[in-house]
Amino acid sequence: MVSVSLRGVTKRYGETVAVEDVSFEVGKGELFFLLGPSGCGKTTILRLVAGFMQPDAGVICFDGRPIVSVPAHRRNTGMVFQSYALWPHMNVAENVAYGLRERRIERQEREERVRAVLRTVHMAQYRDRMPNQLSGGQQQRVALARALVIEPDVVLLDEPLSNLDARLRLDMRREIRRIHAETGITMLYVTHDQKEALSMAQRLAVMSMGRVEQLGDPRSVYRRPVNRFVAEFMGEANMIAGSLLGTGAGFGTLRTPLGDLRAALGAGRLSAADQAVCMVRPECLQLGNGHENAFRARVDSSVYLGEIEQFVLSAGGMELRAIQSNPGSGPAPVGRETQVHFSAEDAVLLPAERPPESSPPEAQGAGK
């Protein structure tokens, strides 16, 4: 088990920059996520770590040892491919045993370890099946077992759940977390699904257009995004624009069409009179009377989903979204004015300029 660190890593495909000056460190035994829209360079980083391609600049280290010159087959990483990449001409046990054979592990120990890892992923009874006789979720487990059995220094997972249906995806999230907890192996996990990252990661890096936008644990990235891109990528967000009146004690006051709103200061440097936005998540907007950040809004529509109810509100010429948990039994107040408020602690002030959203073409195919 190792720590993985990237410093100033850059990778270009011709003119296109797939990864630009990326630095982060994955601690020993950490479950670290790379999260971002398709084409943001996250898969390229995984392939750089695996050794399938070389960075144009920068250093990649395992436990502080530079590994860029080590060929892929000597890096002792266990990769779980998006397509699973199970060899169709070998059965489950043969697939899993492959890496052990490469490592010249003796037959008895090999069989022992294959049996053990298949038990870990709950696939022991399928050891003689061929890959095409397995369901997607089962293939996923075999791919995971194949990567784990060699006791790799780091497990690399490339969108491992993206080919599974929604139910199975939830089960597998739990499974991977369990396996991570049991093995304590360093894992670098790539996904575009922010729910997956939030629910599983110990820490994560949000990427866009080849750059890391934000590093942090799930709560801080969700609640305190550093810019509008991260805020909107991590979940739904109401953006209320205005100009900054003043700051103090980690909070600032923004003059907006809804009145003066108080919110936490984000990471971006803001000073008085700057244009800024107040980001507040729908579940933080409360319908009803409140003391702080209160304003009147009209309820345009509502969607009742049982455990929650979603509202579309209009106030000050803009549209806002709100989510109430445990909605009551009365009819929604559609068409009526109501009081809305949110806590300053739940909102964050971000720089107004919106980072460009267009992403470069999907870069992961360019190296093939």
């Binding site: 695996a50 399938f52 060929p71 892929a72 087959h73 000597r74 890096r75 002792n76 990483t77 266990g78 990769m79 491919f81 998006q82 397509s83 990449a85 199970l86 060899w87 169709p88 001409h89 492959y98 890496g99 490469e102 490592r103 194949r146 990567a147 060699i150 690399l156 093939k368």
Partner: protein, 556 residues
Amino acid sequence: MRRTALILVIATGAFLLAFLIYPLLYSCRGAFVVNGHFSLAFFQYLYTDKLTRECIVNSLVLGCVVTVITAALALPLALVVARYSFPAKTLLTGLLLVPMIMPPFVGAIGMRHILARFGSLNLLFMDAGLMHSPVDWLGGARFWGVVIIEVLHLYPIMYLNFAAALANVDPSLEEAAVNLGSSGFRLFRKITLPLMMPGLFAGSVIVFIWAFTDLGTPLVFGYRRVVAVRIFDQVTELQNNPQGYALVVGVVALTALIYLAAKRLFGLRAYGSLSRGPVYGGEKRVRPLGACLIAAFVLGVVAIACLPHVAVVLTALQKDWFMSVVPSGYTLGHFHDALGHPLTLSSIRNSIGYSALSTVLDGVIGILVAYVLVRYAFWGSDMLDAMVMLPIAIPGLVLAFGYVATFSGTVLDPRENPVPLLVIAYALRRLPYMVRAAYAGFQQVNVQLEEAAINLGSPPLRAMRRVTVPLVSANLIAGGILVFSFAMLEVSDSLILAMKERFYPITKGIYVLIQRIEDGPYIASALGVWAMVFLALSLVAAGMLLGRRLGQLFRV
């Protein structure tokens, strides 16, 4: 792996340069440089010498006539097979490929019997009262004898190209035209045909080049005034008469010219398919009568195409075949003789040896080249691709002539020992098939399967051997079978390069046997039948391994 790829590309390039490009250039030099000076004298000679000019004209006419007739036969075949269902379709479409299992000049032996003055055809017509005095097909009409044999041998290749072109025409494009009110012949002429053009072009060029440079068939029919036979005759006097060079360069230049002209005329744009997801080929059901008519048409083509084969089998079996439509007595003796005769025995052994060696050579080069082409993008990949495909357009005749000219007096001198050059010639000529077969296989194997193996500790070459090669083994075996069996059937390079009897391969053995007056043709036919059976089995095996993809190998 990048380094491995680079070394490989350089090695393959060197091999192709030495045995494909260099002999061609050497022939050019022989044609242009006379007594150390640049000269166009021999090209003038090509034009002014009456005999040579006649040969060139004959070959051109032969090539054009064969191409046109072949296309006229193959187009309706491809259309009905692609569009209609009819009785015994699988069997009949399979039988359409039968002519490929025999070199045409062997069929010519049998056809001589059928087309002779008192041969089966004339006798049949006279018996039926349709003809009063026999027509001398082989005297006045040798040209047509050659045409018939070549058309019957070449239409499958044209058909496969047409069928592929039709399969590539997106049905939704036709449906769009139908939706706008087009139908029938107009739909075909305005939409389908233009979209098929690349396939028409590819098939026509292959067939033309083949007919234009075929050596065996004109030789057997005694139709000697064609370019191929002239070049063949010149090989023996290379040193003192450089006309051969001029002819070879003329052939290459003309081939290139025709290729470019046809490309310009037909356009080589491949139209991509617009529709995504499964494409439902519109195979229409027709009324029973129509279906039977279609089946009868296909069956008729098959029957006529099998005529040379039947004739060869009859010739091999005959004890007494004179003045009768079919032989009046049969014997298995010739088959026995064919396996007992010293010439045939050594030629069979030689052919198997040469073909096996060339298959191994093609296997190694073809697999590695195809792999590199599929997996890596690198500078010069287009050139490598073009170079390994070039032999499709280089006639065996030209290659063999170039070898004799280039390597005479070196360690590779075919007069001393033709084995290395024969093996290389066979391998080069069939390399495109091997590369195609392997290429198709590698394309279907996701690169991640290999990366997974590398990730778990396999060095790249071992990952390729343990993961990718087993997954494409069907393609590789099929490619190998095709290379092997077609190497057994190489005619022009065998005739030219194998000069000593103990080095003769089967085709040269058959050719020499034919010329022996007494029992030669019968033993030759028996040998031809053995070769036919062998090749048929090979093709069936390759077909079983490749399924429907077999046809792809014969396309350009």
